[in-house]
């Protein structure tokens, strides 16, 4: 129904109570989302694939691994799947811990459908954004890899806000040559404006700073 939601986004429901699993999956699917249910955290972890898109809706109190444990384990493994916590009355401190650990939202039982679907859609959008950001930075990295070292130097100096003449002096080449490098670099990076170039250059710098902290 909501077109912005990608077709393969799924709500992964983890709850030890069979009735709740059944009722929630029915409601979620009737609201136009795909649902997939697991009776325990262990069951979910056993089949999880990194390519899965969507969000995780988990109960907190479960026999075996708790919702909090599951969340912590996913975080530890670098899984970015957004987590929505479903909590019973009186779990305030546990809920606070879950939010601190990066849960995107929490729902209190019993939960009404509007709220449930709003929260789940929001979680799925967060997942998509995260995914898109990851894909974009992967693409940019691939394009940057195609630049020669001279083109890369010009990119970095442009990102620092230097003029063509200053860049030429720094690199001991003519301003004319600087313009040639710039044109080639912009073509390889598929940038139309100088602003795009500066953005990519700035990202590159901050990535490098993150990878090789001075």
């Amino acid at each position: 129904m909501n077109i912005s939601t990608s077709p393969d986004a799924t709500v992964f429901v983890v709850d030890d109570d069979a009735s709740i699993r059944d009722a929630l999956s029915l409601l979620i699917s009737l609201k136009g989302l795909r649902a997939s249910v697991y009776s325990s955290a262990e069951d979910f972890l056993a089949v999880y694939e990194p390519t899965w898109r969507g969000c995780l809706l988990t109960d907190l109190k479960m026999p075996g691994m708790s919702g909090l444990d599951l969340q912590a384990l996913l975080r530890q493994r670098g899984v970015t799947l957004p987590v929505v916590v479903l909590t019973a009355h009186g779990d305030v401190s546990t809920t606070r811990a879950a939010l601190k650990n990066g849960a995107v939202d929490f729902l209190e039982k019993p939960v009404d459908d509007e709220v449930l679907v709003d929260v789940l859609r929001n979680a799925i959008r967060i997942d998509e954004e995260r995914h898109r950001a990851t894909a974009e930075s992967a693409q940019a990295a691939a394009r940057l890899a195609r630049l020669t070292s001279r083109e890369r130097e010009v990119l970095e100096l442009l990102a620092q806000g230097l003029q063509h003449r200053e860049i030429a002096e720094r690199l001991a080449i003519s301003p004319r040559t600087v313009e040639v490098y710039k044109a080639r670099m912009m073509e390889k990076l598929q940038c139309r404006t100088l602003a795009d170039v500066v953005r990519i250059g700035t990202n590159l710098r901050s990535d490098m700073a993150a990878k090789h902290p001075a």
Partner: protein
Amino acid sequence: MIRSAFVATSNASRSLMRPWDRDFALAAITYVALYVALQWLSNVRPLLALNINPWNPQAGLALAFLVLYGGRAIAVTAAAVVMGGFAVRGMPANLPVQMAASVWVAIGYGGLAAFLREREIAAQIHTVRDASRLAGAAVGGTLIVAAAYVTIFLASGQLPLSDAVTAVTRYWIGDLSGVLTLTPLLINARGWREHLPLLQRHRWEMISQLAAILLTLWIIFRLPTADQLRFFYLLFLPVIWIALRWGWRGAMLSVLLIQIGLIVAARTEIPTARLIDLQFLMVTLSLTGLLLGAAVAERAGVLRRVAMSEAEQRALLAMAPDAVLAVDPHGRVRMANAAAARLFGEGIEAGEAQLAWFLPGLQLDRAQDRVTLNGRRADGSSFPAEIAQARLDPPANEGYLVTVRDATDRRRAEEQLRERDAALARAMRFAVAGELASALAHELNQPITALVSYLRASEILAAQPVGDSKRLQATLGKAAQEAIRASAVLRKLRDFYQGGARKSERVDIAALCRTVARAFEDRLRRANASLSVAIDPTLPLVEADGTQLEIVLHNLLANALDSVSHVAGAGRQLELHGSHHDGVVTLRVADSGPGITAEVGRRLFEPFVTSKPDGMGLGLAISRSLIRARGGELSCERSRKLGGAEFTIRLPIDPPSDTPSV
């Protein structure tokens, strides 16, 4: 002369054990010189040639020397006696007899000295008894010496038998007055320096006493010879005065002075016929001074001890944290300590205060251990007073000693403790209620969550243009199931409180009782109550829910403890008793509290009936349903042994398969 003798004797006494060392030699030489000098001085109209004088101070000197130096002094003494005789009369014709008599005198006084040393007479004169013992020994000892001395001369034929009694009397009395006056003074002369400050402080008094003696002597000897002895009794006045002021030491010194005066006078003024009267006068003076002085010293000692113990008692009373009051038989406050003034206010010290005003209702004549009643302060305010009292022992049994302690602080502390306990119990109940609510919410939320989701799904299904009525039907059916599940949660909860949903296990009742009793140890100690646990060691295991049984026992013991805190501290007793008979285990919880009133008793096990101000009245109701659910019974009666309430749990060892519902 005298002073050097004192120094010598005190030096010599330090080396008593070495027979002929330098100190002893010095002391012996001084002694002999003194002896001869005294002999010469006192040689007043001797009886015949027998060396019998009216006053023999040298006998006192000899005895003191013998007491201080023991047996080795006997030879020195014998030599001194012989030399004394030579000094006075030159070489006598009957030398062997004189020598024998002298040796006898030395041996006789040596024996008396040994007797004094052994019985520790004369070394310390603190009481009249000490003085009497000394006087008795001196009278007996000198009589023996005198009798033997005269006998020697009788035997040698130098003395006619007719003069024997006179001779013995004169010798005896002469030695006796010398011994009584000088011996105790010399033996006790060691610490004479200690008395110098006294001499200085009371210089004028002593000088006037000395003047009184001299004046008296002057008066006596200014009279015509015939009247002189008639006024000798005047001499008693200064001697008694001095004895009362300075004890026997002063008395003996004054007697010594008088004796010297009399002897000087006797050389010229007194007719020989009256010498025997003079002798008796001097002995009487000596005895009077000695005994009176000792009595004064004894009294001073007693007074000092009394003053000391009174000072101690005053300090004790002043320091006492409790108010202490001495009360006469009419209830008047005779004495009140500082704590009493602090507690009651200033009015109580005045001496006119009536105890009954400050402690209304206190019965002094009633023999009672401790009472607590309301005390009244001088300003009229009242306070809880804890009182202990005692009748004063004979011979002072005229009244009572009463101690009072302000119990306000203790009461308040107890009150606070009770309030804290109550607050704790309330908080516990709230915590339990909160826990229960939380558990209930969790249990109910599960089916309600599913129920809401199914109903919302049904809503969506029903709104779809192409109806899927089968699916809708199924979803609604599931929703109904969830509603039933929710009601099942509620039923389970109700069943728990009615004992319906219980677990069953083999329970060791004895161990369970011990666990519960241990849990109460701290509260028992605080309440000053005792719990005696008597469990039959052969109690079998019982098929039951241990937790429920523990709750019931805990409840009953808590009730019992609450109940005994209404009675006085000493009688707070609880009892937990366990036995079995004919397949039924019986547990009894009894207390010494006030028991159950008839009104409460009738409805005791109904919910919300309570005798406690902050009780909910659910404990016994729940306890009874838990026990009944197991086929047992919980009942209450009056405890025959402890007098309070007694709750009895009867449990069948094997519960009936069909438990009755409540």
